[in-house]
C-alpha cells in the first residue's frame, strides 16, 4: 500500500542562477559555467514543472573544456559518510536528440562531481565520467536517465585536492560539447535529486509499510500519469521484472507492514559498467533490511528472484521477534552477507552470495540450497 521516500534534496525546478543551493561553476583549468543556465519548460518530473537546465555553447571540440555547475546538498554543512554512506539518485536528460552533442566518455562527455568542504566552488572534489557519445546514456536520447552515486565510493576517475568524506557538501554536472548531428548547443536537463541513507531505521531510507509490494515503489516514482511522475529509470518495472537503484527497508518498526513480492524478479544495477558508468556504489549503497515490528501481524514474504548486482550489498534480515519473514522459494544472487534472525523461515536458494549468517538459532532455512559462495563460507550457523 505504501512506499515511503524522503523529501528530495533539490527539486531542481529553478534556474541555477537563482537557486539558493547553487554552489559555483566548474573552475578547473579551462573550465567555466555553461553559457546559458535556464529553466526548461516541462522538463522536470512531473512535466508540469520546469527543470534546471543549461545549454553549453562552448565551441565543439572532442577534448574540451568542460562546462558545468555545482549545487550544495544542504543549506549549511555537509554529510559525514565516513561511517555509513548515503547514495545520491537523480535523473539527467537532454532536451532533444539534436542536443546530445557530447564527446566520448574518455574525454569527459558527461561528468558528475562530488565536492567536500566549504569552497564555492569546491576546491576538493572527485570526478566520475558517467556518459559519452560512446556509452548508452550519450549515444541517443533516452529520456531522463538515472544516476546513482555512493557518496563513499572511491572509484572516481579524477580527484582535485583532498576529498573529505566527513564533509561532503556539493555535487556538480558538466559536459564537453562535441557536435554529433546538427549544430545546436549541447543541453542538460536536471530533475529532482534524492540522497538516501542506507542504514536500518535511518530517516531517509526508502521503505515499505502497510500491505505493500514492489509496485508501490514503482508507482510512487513513476506516477499514474503525466501529473504525478517524480522520477524515472531508477525504480522500473517491465513485466514482472523490477530494477531499483536504492537501498530498501521493509517496515519502519512502527507501522503495521505486510510486504509480499508476489514472485517478482528484482535487480539492482552493476556498478561502474564500462559501457554505461552511471552507477558508482560501494557494497553499502543498496543494502536491504527488514525492520518489522515485534508483532505477529507484521509479515515479509519473498518468493521471487533477487540479484543484488556486482556491489554485493548486505541483506540484513536479522529480525528476531514475533514478526514473520518467509523466504519460501526465493532465489538470491549476488547479495553480500545475508543476516538471518529467528523471524526468518523458508527454503531459499542462495547463489553467489556472501555468507548466509544465521544470527539466531531460531531461524529456519531448512530445505535451502547454498552454492557458489561469494564469501568465505556458504553458511555460518548461530
Amino acid at each position: 500500500m505504501t512506499a515511503v521516500l524522503p523529501t528530495a534534496v533539490n527539486l531542481h525546478t529553478s534556474d541555477w542562477d537563482v537557486d539558493a543551493r547553487a554552489r559555483g561553476a566548474f573552475a578547473g583549468s579551462g573550465e567555466a559555467q555553461p553559457a546559458q543556465r535556464i529553466v526548461k519548460v516541462n522538463g522536470n518530473m512531473p512535466i508540469s514543472n520546469g527543470a534546471a537546465a543549461f545549454a553549453n555553447t562552448q565551441a565543439s571540440s572532442s577534448t574540451g573544456p568542460l562546462r558545468g555547475i555545482y549545487w550544495e546538498f544542504l543549506a549549511s554543512g555537509g554529510y559525514d559518510v565516513s561511517s555509513d554512506t548515503r547514495v545520491l539518485v537523480t535523473n539527467w536528460g537532454v532536451n532533444g536528440p539534436d542536443q546530445i552533442q557530447l564527446t566520448t566518455l574518455a574525454n569527459d562527455g558527461m561528468v558528475f562531481r562530488l565536492g567536500s568542504g566549504s569552497g564555492n566552488p569546491p576546491t576538493n572534489y572527485r570526478t566520475w565520467r558517467i556518459a559519452g557519445n560512446d556509452t548508452f546514456a550519450g549515444s541517443a536520447v533516452r529520456g531522463p536517465l538515472a544516476i546513482a552515486i555512493d557518496l563513499d565510493v572511491d572509484d572516481h576517475d579524477a580527484v582535485i585536492g583532498t576529498f573529505d568524506k566527513t564533509d561532503v557538501q556539493c555535487y556538480g554536472a558538466g559536459q564537453v560539447r562535441l557536435n554529433l548531428a546538427g549544430t545546436k548547443a549541447a543541453s542538460m536537463v536536471f530533475s529532482r535529486i534524492f540522497v538516501f541513507t542506507t542504514t536500518r531505521g535511518s530517516s531517509d531510507i526508502p521503505h515499505f509499510t502497510g500491505a505493500s509490494d514492489w509496485d508501490d515503489l514503482v508507482d510512487l516514482v513513476n506516477g499514474t500519469d503525466y501529473s504525478d511522475k517524480i522520477g524515472d529509470d531508477w525504480a522500473r518495472r517491465e513485466g514482472n521484472v523490477y530494477l531499483f537503484m536504492c537501498p530498501i527497508q521493509f517496515g519502519d518498526n512502527a507501522t503495521s507492514t505486510q510486504f509480499n513480492d508476489n514472485g517478482a524478479i528484482v535487480f539492482w544495477p552493476d556498478t561502474a559498467q564500462a559501457n554505461d558508468p552511471r552507477i558508482h556504489v560501494t557494497e553499502n549503497a543498496f543494502r536491504v533490511y527488514s525492520n518489522l515490528r515485534d508483532n505477529a501481524a507484521d509479515t515479509l514474504t519473498l518468493t521471487g528472484r533477487y540479484d543484488g548486482g556486482n556491489s554485493y550489498p548486505l541483506w540484513d534480515f536479522n529480525t528476531s521477534n514475533n514478526s514473520s519473514i518467509t523466504l519460501d522459494g526465493a532465489r538470491f544472487k549476488r547479495t553480500g552477507t545475508f543476516l538471518v534472525g529467528s523471524s526468518v523461515s523458508g527454503a531459499a536458494l542462495f547463489n553467489d552470495c556472501g555468507v548466509v549468517d544465521i544470527v539466531d538459532a531460531g531461524a529456519d532455512l531448512d530445505g535451502s540450497t547454498f552454492r557458489n559462495p561469494h564469501g568465505t563460507h556458504l553458511l555460518r550457523l548461530a
Partner: protein, 767 residues
C-alpha cells in the same frame, strides 16, 4: 557473435510526403510534414520523419504502405509483427490526450486507398501511460498484424491483404501551449516463422548481448532501435527469434540471464498488441554436433507463444536448469538433454522418445497437461506439481513406460491421461509416486506396476547377522502371503518384485528354530509397505528353552560361492556370535584343478593359523585334481563379530570354495583323536565310514564337480545312516550332524545321476 535482423521496412529518415516512396497519405493535415527532424532517428546521425499535431483536440498522423503499390500481405496463417518506436521531440512537445482518448494510436489498414477504408486502430498510449507521460526518447511498440485486440475497427479488416499502417496523435495540451512534435526511427516488419530469414536469428558463438549490441549499438553512430534492451542481467526482446539458421555454425548460450518477452495489451502500457504467434522462438541448428545451444537462464514470456525447440539431430542442446514461464506449448526434440523447470507454461511436448528431460520440474501448467510424452519411453527424477483440474502427463501412444522416481503431488484430476486408444503399462520404480490414471477414448487401458523392494535383515541382540533365517511377509489384515524366502549368509532377505499398489500394513515373520543349530524365538513384527518399499531389521532373541537339548549347538554354518578367479587365495567372512564358550571352528577348503595336485600353504582365522586335519578325500589324475582340506580352530571366548577366513593354496587354482561351521561347547584337545576323519571319491556316491565311541559333532563336506553342465534332476544329498539332508547344487555342500556312538556311513548321493568327479570328507569335534 551475431544477431541477424532483416532490413527495416522503412527507415523513416525522410519527410512524410512524396519524398518517401512508401508514404501514402496524411491524416488530419499535420503541420510541417515536409520536415525531417535533425538527429531524430536512430542513430542520431540520421534525420527522423517528423510531423506536428498543431491543432488542439484534433487527431493527426501519417500513413505509409508496407510494400509499394499497397501490395497486400497475407498473415492469416503466419503473422508478422510491426516493430517501431515513438518519440516526442522534447518534454514540452508531448501534448497528447489520454490512452482512452487515443492519445497515441496506430492503424493497420487492409486493401487499397489513400488511406484504405478498412482498418484496425490500436490505442498505444496517452498522457497517462509511459508512452506519453514524459519524454523518454524512442519508446518501442510492437503490433501484430493479426492481433484482434484493436480499440476500433472501421470497415472489415482483411488479414489476407494487409497493406498499410498509420501513426496518429490526438493533441491535448497538458503543459504549456506547444504543439506535439514527434518522430520515429526505422520500422521493422518481422516474420515469425522458423524458416523465414526475416525472423531475427542468432548464429555463431552468440548470446543475448549480441542482440543488445546490435540494437542498442556501441556509440551514437550505430544505435539501431530500442526494441531490445538490457537491465542488469535481464534482457528484454520485443521480437520473435530463432537460434540458428540451419546453415551457419551456431553455438548459443543464454549465460544464465533473464529473458523477458512482453505481455500483450497491458492496461497500463498497451504498446504491445500480440497474438500468440508473435513472440515465437525456435531452435534451428544444423544437423551437426558442432552446433550447440546451452540454457541456464530464466525465460519469462508475456504471451502464450509456442516454443518450437524440436531439434532432433546431431546438434547438442543442453538444459542446465533453466526456468521457462509464461509461454505456450513447448516442443522439445531429442537433441535436448538436461533438467529444466516449466512453471505456468503450455504443454511440454516431447517430440520423440529420445528426449531426455530427466530431473525436470513441471508446475502450474497452462495447457491441458504438463507434459505429453513422445511415445513409449523412460523418464526419471521428475516432479509434477500444482495441476488442479488437469493431468500431469498425457500418453498418446500405447506401450510400456518406465517412471523412475517420478513425483506427482496428485493435485490434478488424475496424474496420467492415456489417450492412446491402446494398452499402456507404466512401471514405477525408485520411490516414485504411483500415478492415478484417466483412460480417455475407446480402447485405452493402463496398467500401473509399482515394483518396490522388500528387505528384511535378521540379526541377534548384538546386531550380528543371523544367516539363513526363514522370512515370511503377510498382509496384516488378511494374512495373505506377500513374500517369503530365506535370508542369505549375511542375514538379508530381499524381494524386488513387489508391485506396490498403495501403502499396506504387513506382518514380517521370521523363524530360525530348527534342531541342530542355534535357535531363536519367532518374530512377528508389524510394518508398512510404502511407495519406497519395505526395509525392516528384526532383532531375534535366542530360544534358550528349545535350545536346551542334549546336543551341542551349531552356532554358525555357511559356505562360500564358487571362486573361479584363478588365483591362489580364497577368503570368506564369518560372523562369530557373541555367546558360547569353547567354540570350535571347522573349515573345509575345496579345489579342482586340471594340471596341479595342490597342497596348502596357509590357512588362517582372523590372521591366526588354523590347525590342519589330515587324511581327506582326493581324486587325482591327469587333468583332474580334487581335494578337500579340513582345518579347525579354537575360537577365543572373547571373539565376536565379523572375522575373515583365508585359505592359500600352494599355487594358483582353477576352482575353489570354503565351508565352515562353529560348534559351541566342545572339549579341546581330543577332537583329532576321535573316530575317523577321512575322505572318499566316487563317480556317483562317495562315502566314508565313521566309527566313534562317544557322542560327537561331525562336520561333513562334499565336493561336486559337475557345475559346468548341471542337469535339471541333479541333487546333492548328504546322507548319514538313514538321515538325509537336502543339499544344494553347489561346488561344496556342508552338513553338520550330531552323532551318537557307533558306526555311521557318511556320503553323498546325486539322485542317480553320475557325476564325473565327486568327493566327500568329514571332520569331527568331540564334546
Amino acid at each position: 557473435m551475431t544477431f541477424v535482423l532483416p532490413a527495416a521496412n522503412n527507415d523513416h529518415t525522410v519527410e512524410a510526403d512524396a519524398s518517401d516512396t512508401l508514404w501514402v497519405v496524411n491524416v488530419g493535415t499535420p503541420q510541417a510534414t515536409s520536415n525531417a527532424k535533425v538527429a531524430g532517428n536512430l542513430p542520431i546521425t540520421a534525420n527522423g520523419k517528423q510531423w506536428i499535431g498543431n491543432t488542439a483536440g484534433s487527431t493527426k498522423g501519417v500513413v505509409c504502405e508496407f510494400i509499394n503499390g499497397q501490395t497486400g500481405i497475407d498473415v492469416s496463417s503466419d503473422t508478422r509483427v510491426l516493430v517501431w518506436a515513438h518519440q516526442f521531440n522534447a518534454p514540452n512537445r508531448i501534448q497528447v490526450d489520454t490512452l482512452a482518448n487515443a492519445g497515441v494510436s496506430l492503424r493497420l489498414y487492409s486493401g487499397t486507398g489513400s488511406p484504405p477504408s478498412a482498418y484496425r486502430e490500436y490505442n498505444l498510449g496517452g498522457n497517462d501511460t509511459p508512452l506519453a507521460d514524459h519524454v523518454k526518447g524512442p519508446l518501442a511498440f510492437v503490433v501484430d498484424l493479426n492481433d484482434n485486440s484493436e480499440d476500433t475497427e472501421v470497415g472489415t479488416y482483411d488479414n489476407t491483404d494487409v497493406t498499410s499502417y498509420g501513426i496518429l496523435t490526438l493533441r491535448a495540451n497538458i503543459a504549456g501551449t506547444n504543439s506535439n512534435y514527434q518522430f520515429h526511427p526505422a520500422m521493422f516488419l518481422l516474420q515469425t516463422t522458423k524458416t523465414s530469414s526475416d525472423t531475427p536469428t542468432f548464429t555463431g558463438a552468440s548470446d543475448f548481448d549480441d542482440a543488445v549490441s546490435l540494437v542498442q549499438g556501441s556509440d551514437y553512430t550505430d544505435v539501431l532501435h530500442t526494441f531490445v534492451r538490457q537491465i542488469g542481467t535481464a534482457y528484454f526482446l520485443d521480437c520473435p527469434f530463432r537460434i540458428g539458421d540451419n546453415s551457419t555454425s551456431t553455438q548459443f548460450n543464454d549465460n544464465g540471464v533473464t529473458v523477458v518477452s512482453p505481455a500483450s495489451n497491458d492496461a497500463n502500457d498497451p504498446r504491445y498488441r500480440l497474438t500468440t504467434q508473435a513472440m515465437r522462438t525456435y531452435l534451428n541448428l544444423r544437423n551437426n554436433a558442432a552446433d550447440t545451444a546451452t540454457f541456464s537462464g530464466t525465460w519469462l514470456w508475456g504471451t502464450r507463444a509456442p516454443f518450437d525447440w524440436d531439434q532432433d539431430d546431431a546438434a547438442v542442446v543442453t538444459f542446465n536448469s533453466p526456468t521457462f514461464a509464461g509461454m505456450g506449448d513447448f516442443t522439445v526434440g531429442s537433441s535436448i538433454t538436461g533438467d529444466a523447470t516449466w512453471d505456468d507454461a503450455g504443454v511440454v511436448i516431447m517430440a520423440d522418445t529420445g528426449v531426455d528431460l530427466d530431473g525436470s520440474t513441471f508446475k502450474n501448467p497452462f495447457g491441458t497437461h504438463s507434459v505429453q510424452l513422445g511415445g513409449a519411453m523412460d523418464i526419471a527424477d521428475m516432479r509434477f506439481e500444482s495441476y488442479a483440474s488437469k493431468h500431469a502427463i498425457e500418453i498418446d501412444t500405447a506401450g510400456t513406460y518406465n517412471f523412475s522416481n517420478v513425483f506427482f503431488d496428485q493435485s490434478g484430476t488424475n496424474d496420467v491421461e492415456n489417450t492412446s486408444g491402446g494398452a499402456v503399462t507404466i512401471n514405477i520404480s525408485n520411490g516414485g509416486t504411483t500415478p492415478t490414471v484417466t483412460n480417455t477414448g475407446g480402447g485405452s487401458t493402463t496398467t500401473v506396476n509399482a515394483f518396490v523392494t522388500l528387505t528384511v535383515t535378521t540379526q541377534d541382540a548384538k546386531a550380528v547377522a543371523i544367516p539363513y533365517a526363514k522370512v515370511r511377509i503377510e498382509n496384516a489384515s488378511t494374512g495373505a502371503l506377500i513374500s517369503e524366502g530365506v535370508a542369505n549368509n549375511l542375514g538379508v532377505f530381499s524381494d524386488s518384485n513387489y508391485n506396490y499398489g498403495g501403502n499396506l500394513g504387513v506382518v514380517v515373520k521370521v523363524r530360525k528354530n530348527s534342531p541342530g543349530e542355534v535357535r531363536y524365538l519367532p518374530i512377528n513384527q508389524p510394518a508398512t509397505i510404502t511407495a519406497t518399499g519395505l526395509t525392516v531389521t528384526v532383532s531375534m532373541a535366542q530360544d534358550t528353552i528349545a535350545g536346551d537339548v542334549p546336543m551341542l549347538g551349531i552356532m554358525r554354518q555357511g559356505i562360500t560361492s564358487e571362486d573361479e578367479s584363478g588365483n591362489a587365495v580364497i577368503t570368506a567372512e564369518i560372523d562369530v556370535p557373541d555367546s558360547g564358550a569353547s567354540r570350535k571352528l571347522v573349515v573345509g577348503a575345496f579345489y579342482w584343478d586340471s594340471s596341479t595336485n595342490l597342497t596348502m600353504s596357509a590357512a588362517t582365522y582372523d590372521g591366526n593359523a588354523m590347525t590342519s586335519i589330515s587324511g581327506i578325500a582326493e581324486q587325482e589324475g591327469a587333468g583332474n585334481f580334487h581335494e578337500i582340506f579340513l582345518y579347525r580352530y579354537d575360537i577365543p571366548d572373547a571373539d565376536s563379530g565379523r572375522k575373515t577366513i583365508s585359505i592359500t593354496f600352494s599355487a594358483n587354482v582353477a576352482i575353489k570354495a570354503i565351508g565352515f561351521a562353529i560348534i559351541d561347547d566342545v572339549a579341546t584337545g581330543a577332537e583329532d583323536n576321535f573316530g575317523t576323519h577321512s575322505g572318499d571319491q566316487s563317480a556317483t556316491n562317495p562315502s566314508i565310514g565313521i566309527n566313534n565311541s562317544v557322542s560327537a559333532w561331525e562336520v561333513g563336506f562334499v565336493m561336486v564337480d559337475d557345475l559346468d553342465s548341471p542337469s535339471a534332476t541333479d541333487e546333492a544329498v548328504i546322507r548319514r545312516s538313514d538321515l538325509s539332508v537336502d543339499g544344494l547344487k553347489s561346488l561344496a555342500v556342508l552338513t553338520v550332524n550330531r552323532l551318537t556312538t557307533g558306526v555311521h556311513n557318511f556320503g553323498a548321493n546325486y539322485g542317480g545321476n553320475t557325476k564325473t568327479w565327486v568327493a566327500a570328507g568329514a571332520a569331527f569335534a568331540k564334546n
